[in-house]
Amino acid sequence: MPEMKKTREGWGKGLVALGDENPNVVVLTADLNGSTMCNFFAEKYPERFVQVGIAEQNMMCVAAGLSLTGKVPFLATYGAFASTRSLDQIRITVAYSNLNVKIGGAHGGISVGPDGATHQAMEEFAIIRSIPNMTVICPSDIHETRKATIAAGNTFGPFYLRFGRENVPVVTNEDTPFQIGKAIEMASGSDLTIIACGMMVYEALVAAEELGKNGISARVLNMHTIKPIDREAIIKACEETGAIVTAEEHQIHGGLGGAVSEVVVQNSPVPMELVAVKDRFGKSGKPSELMKAFGLTSKEIIEASQKVLKRKK
């Protein structure tokens, strides 16, 4: 078993690193300072931390206003609220104005666990990536989340970052290069490509290893940036491996699978299978139980791989 760490800790550490370098970085939260791990920043830079209270719509627009004065505002709340309660604010104030606002959607995915469906954000990729100007990132582990947070702070424009609640396997290291919009090949392979994001990258790696034992060579792409998606890597995967499986902790409609399909069908159609939540709300339970119950483990990725290979000409 690999080392386990929280992606949200990567966000918290990334904010401090940014704060150390750039006095214009400010952090806002809506009564979720501790659980979004903004508290690292808040403790070190209290004068640049803004507690907004339970008012996500206001928070989104206050962040927008701060950006107009040259600040680089990072805000965090649960993704379930960030991507829905304050969606109109994201669309019109932040995205239409193309403001330098960085949105942290904490507690993404079914792995949130016992809080249940209300708190399990599983629609954010679909919602946010349909809005012009937005960049959407879902890092795979603590290191990648830290790097993604720092990269967002150093790149102008509105960002949505999704991270999770639980400890998840560490699949990259401190030095793995991270570039917005550039997928990372985590395993090489020639029979098919598994494209995953977030904690599903680990599941994809486990699946690839299992498949390897049966003589199937699976490439694994860590597609941390959902938008703008790495078209080049996807087209290359189609051409070189001829079959694709996507895996994400998100609804099946409009998420990573949708984003990859859009590139595939318009460029180099190959058979695809999507591992995702099948158009249903989440449930209370232990994270590991839920991942199994909702079909988000290496097992389903392996099954999808076998299925896609049968369809491959």
């Binding site: 400010v26 004068e47 640049r48 803004v50 907004v52 209270g53 008012a55 719509q57 206001n58 989104m60 627009c61 206050v62 962040a63 927008a64 206003g65 701060l66 950006s67 107009l68 004065t69 040259g70 600040k71 505002p73 109109d88 604010q89 019109i92 104030t93 239409y96 104005s97 193309n98 403001l99």
Partner: protein, 286 residues
Amino acid sequence: MRKKLNIDELKAKALEVRRDIITMLTYAGSGHSGGSLSSTDYGTALFFNEMNIDPKNPEYSERDMWFFSIGHVTPVIYSLMAESGYFEKNALLKFRKLDGFLEGHPCKAHVPGIECSGGSLGQGLSVAVGAALGSRMDKHSRRVYAICGDGELQEGQIWEAVMFAAHYKLDNICVFVDYNRKQIDGDVEDIMGIHPLDEKFRSFNWNVITIDGHNFEEILAALEEAKNTKGKPTVILGNTIMGKGVSFMEDLHTWHGNPPNKEQAEIACKELGTTLEEWTTHLENN
């Protein structure tokens, strides 16, 4: 430093702004007459007396910032911008047209000087509050001005921002409520009452000033009081009249979102001391 217009000059400028509004709405064939005309006098006072802005250099770092939280009143916003030199007046004739750059609702990407896009009610005040906080963090002397509609105050987000501004004691922000008592579907008090507004704001720890929103002496005095009020934000409740300045539009909610047709525009222009033709030519050549 731009010259500050005195009261007589402000009155004359407001008349021109109203002519612009009527003319651009007529050519657009759609758009919001009522609230544009009711907020004209306050807007004119802001742009031509109160604010430190440099229309030729909209990003000027020392500038005051202004936010029309009522994004739909683009006729008055664009007129004020054109009259103060952000862009040429002939652009007003392409308001809401595909080959123009003046969108139905404010778009930051198309119009330098628009700080933030808007049009979804209830958001602009929060943006203004954020800008006020950011300015204070930098110990910047700028003041931030927001204009809200009275119907708009029914949005819950407004009160989130109102709470926030008082909590953080933002005395560098001044909000004007265009209290014309009308909204799309009728009278504000019938649709969803907001009365008593002064007490509401006071209980949220704001400094409240109630004025006749068409009286320049009162507007300038209120803005002065706002500047001298420390430790709390100020709201100016401006009693106004929807459609002010055009007799057949005055106090009628039906003019909230409609433009005049050509004949109505002729009558309106006459009341405003011009003709449609004369003012069109004026805009074309400026």
